[in-house]
């Protein structure tokens, strides 16, 4: 499961594409900064306009990731609401993951505003569904909650990986478009952020596995159902 999400395949290319500003360092997987990274300021010399296709891709990326992080935020919030009463021992673990999701969510909210992307039309639906999923799986017990995390993070982590691959290709092609070969700092920051969030999601996935998510055999149906639901939500939120 984790192997299929291995980051190795694309991390070398990412490191190469981002090297000038991150010098190949592994991204810090714990996002401790409370506020979203600042958007690169508009310099005097702006880069050539992005193509409509690129702008469409980036708008979809921000919209679907914002919706996904809204969902993740609320899933953990729902689980937290249950576990803080039923399983106080799990509370710090859930709280830690929830904190990271809150940070992801806020970051994408800020990006959506700055880049004038419309949010998903279905955000009220994602809100209700995600909170319900969090509460529901937590009420079923620890294994079900972890199986839920496993399903969600598998889909989200994989999706971040796909986006990252496209982003890296995009950064390379945009650098080819600029006369002086300058790569867009704005796009590079976005790729770094997606890469860091991807690492966070994989950490959540590992946490779920460590906490017996896969021991929960009866939950295979649950996991697969949640995965299918997430994929459907991703498809929808990208477009609507």
């Amino acid at each position: 499961m984790i192997r299929s999400l291995s980051t190795k395949s694309c991390s070398r290319r990412v490191a190469a594409a981002l090297s000038s500003s991150c010098s190949g360092k592994r991204f810090n997987s714990a996002s401790t900064t409370p506020t979203p990274a600042p958007i690169p300021a508009a310099g005097d010399r702006k880069l050539p306009p992005l193509s409509p296709r690129t702008r469409d891709f980036l708008a979809r990326l921000i919209r679907v990731d914002q919706a996904g992080e809204l969902g993740a935020d609320l899933i953990y919030s729902g689980q937290h609401a249950v576990f803080k009463r039923t399983r106080p021992d799990l509370e710090p673990l859930i709280a830690h993951m929830w904190d990271q999701e809150v940070y992801h969510h806020k970051t994408f909210d800020a990006l959506q505003t700055t880049h004038r992307v419309r949010p998903s039309v279905f955000s009220p639906l994602w809100t209700v569904a995600a909170y319900g999923l969090g509460v529901g799986t937590a009420v079923m017990g620890k294994e079900a909650a972890m199986a839920c995390t496993l399903a969600v993070e598998t889909v989200i982590g994989g999706h971040y990986n796909d986006q990252l691959r496209e982003l890296v290709a995009l950064i390379e092609s945009e650098a080819a478009v600029a006369e002086d070969g300058r790569a867009s700092e704005e796009l590079r920051e976005l790729a770094k952020m997606v890469s860091r969030f991807r690492d966070d999601e994989l950490e959540h996935l590992e946490t779920a596995v460590e906490h017996d998510a896969e021991k929960a055999r009866p939950y295979i149906l649950l996991t697969e159902t949640i995965k299918a639901g997430c994929r459907a939500a991703v498809w929808t939120a990208e477009r609507f």
């Binding site: 508009a42 702008r55 700055t114 004038r116 419309r118 949010p119 039309v121 009220p124 477009r239």
Partner: protein, 245 residues
């Protein structure tokens, strides 16, 4: 003397770009794409200077071409004729709103007050052509022009909320833009009939309408609004999104 082939192809593209760009990523460190070539923009700007006298008519377009040293027949490259001229008026006044940002930011921190200021600035820009506006509104209301006109209205509402500093990130985003669109178009219509000095009545009308927007409840609180809105909006959105895959 230029020939009309200079200008031909990008015009069709211009209208389709305008149609889609409201939903696209706005880059901070890249130049914004321009829907008009410099030559088109010069002709259309010149043509607008003739609107107060001649109205939104073909003659204004012809005079615009003549002013810029093009043959009279060049106006034919604007396939949508008068509607292209109207769209240019809407586009240029919308993009000019950003010029007021520093002043408005310094004057008030209140989001809704800022929205009001931008509405006033935008409506004031109609004053020189106010007697000609009803004919423009009539052209905008012709069935083939309705989608582009609504798209432009949505862009204006988005521009105003963006400049004012709106940070809504859930369904509020839609309700705010939809309700401002409704308020703006109602006020614009009112303004064409307003004979009070300096449009005093128009500003009062705007005040009253905007109060309702400020009191709009958000997201889940207004699920009926949401259902009504998505039902309406998703039909067109669905069509365009499924076509693109």
């Amino acid at each position: 003397m230029f020939t009309s082939t200079h200008l031909r192809s990008p015009v069709c593209k211009a209208s389709s770009t305008i149609l889609n760009s409201a939903r696209l990523y706005h880059a901070v460190s890249h130049l914004p794409p321009s829907p008009y070539t410099p030559a088109q923009a010069r002709i259309l700007s010149s043509a607008l200077t003739h609107v107060p006298e001649h109205g939104f008519v073909k003659d204004a377009l012809v005079l615009g071409c003549r002013d810029q040293g093009y043959l009279d027949s060049t106006h034919a490259v604007f396939h949508n004729g008068v509607f292209d001229l109207i769209q240019y008026h809407l586009y240029s006044e919308r993009t000019k709103l950003a010029q007021h940002k520093d002043k408005i930011d310094a004057e008030t921190n209140d989001l809704h007050e800022r929205v009001k200021r931008y509405c006033v600035e935008r409506l004031k820009a109609n004053a020189p052509v106010i007697k000609r506006l009803p004919e423009a509104l009539a052209v905008m209301g012709l069935p083939p022009n309705v989608p582009a006109s609504l798209e432009e209205l949505a862009k204006l509402a988005d521009e105003i909320w963006y400049l004012a500093g709106d940070k809504s990130s859930t369904f509020d985003w839609y309700t705010r833009r939809a309700s401002l669109s409704a308020v703006y178009s109602a006020t614009e219509l009112y303004m064409t009939q307003d004979n009070s000095t300096d449009f005093k009545n128009t500003w009062e009308f705007l005040d009253r309408r905007l109060e309702n927007v400020a009191h709009l409840k958000s997201t889940l609180g207004s699920s009926s609004t949401w259902i009504a809105f998505t039902g309406m909006a998703s039909i067109n959105l669905l069509r365009s999104q499924l076509a693109r895959g």
